[in-house]
Amino acid sequence: MPTPTSIATNIRGTLATALASVAASVYSTVPEAVIPPACVIVPDAPYLETTTIGKSTVRVKVNLVVSAAVAYNNNAGALDNLEQLVISIMQAMPTGYVVGDVQQPTIQSVGASNLLVADLAVSTYYTQETI
């Protein structure tokens, strides 16, 4: 039975599946608790951009941010771990996903732990269809 595609399954889910090969926990949505090292897929701004003409087909550019997070225990070690995680994310990126810039790492407190986090901009195109 044909089922309509969705951004959750065909864009964020596909990206999360591809990133499963990296040595980190992968979340296709923002989780309640983050277990480092981790990759969290969150919407960027603007999130969905209409780029094509016509209304017969709904096709949008989907802008996402992959937040790479590692435990911030040691400054030099955490930065090295973060760089390795970001590179492995880039290597695991599936076909059709445009990889943008990586923003400056920042320290974020989640619960009782500190995380060193850097955001990687990713975008791709999504066509609403039934398969």
């Binding site: 209409t50 780029t51 094509t52 003409i53 016509g54 209304k55 017969s56 096709r59 195109y125």
Partner: protein, 133 residues
């Protein structure tokens, strides 16, 4: 009565009877008139002697996709470069532009990190026909 605003989202675009809205980011039909100017004793005189219409298309590359426009254009360009392809532009307000344009060779490749895109300038074989419904 307020002006009806028509946006690019209101356009439908077909080439060789296939709708390619999903790959097309922009489409314009442009005329370059040839007007000869004569300097007479009474001042300037003008004569419109020719028109060259061009169909300009901005696209997302879709090599390998099902019903790929790029592959269809490549086939048309390599097998029948002198055979013009029928195109139709329809706006939501009912203005329809129909004509024929010669195929062009799609550009392959892209620039990191962007999506692969291409721009086509297709010479029209004749003046497009405007139909208003």
């Amino acid at each position: 009565m307020p002006t009806t605003i028509v946006t690019g989202r209101d356009i439908t675009f077909t080439l060789a009877t296939v709708n390619y809205d999903a790959q097309t980011t922009a489409v314009t039909l442009v005329n370059a008139p040839v007007i000869t100017t004569y300097q007479t004793l009474d001042g300037k005189a003008y004569k419109h002697i020719d028109d060259q219409w061009t169909l300009n298309i901005e696209l997302l590359a879709d090599w390998g996709a099902t019903s790929s426009l790029f592959e269809a254009m490549w086939t048309a360009f390599s097998s029948a470069p002198n055979t013009a392809l029928a195109f139709t532009l329809v706006s939501a307000t009912g203005a329809s532009f129909a004509g024929t344009a010669f195929p062009v060779a799609p550009t392959a490749g892209g620039t990191a990190p962007d999506a692969q895109t291409d721009s086509w300038s297709m010479l029209c074989a004749s003046t497009p026909v405007l139909t208003i419904t």
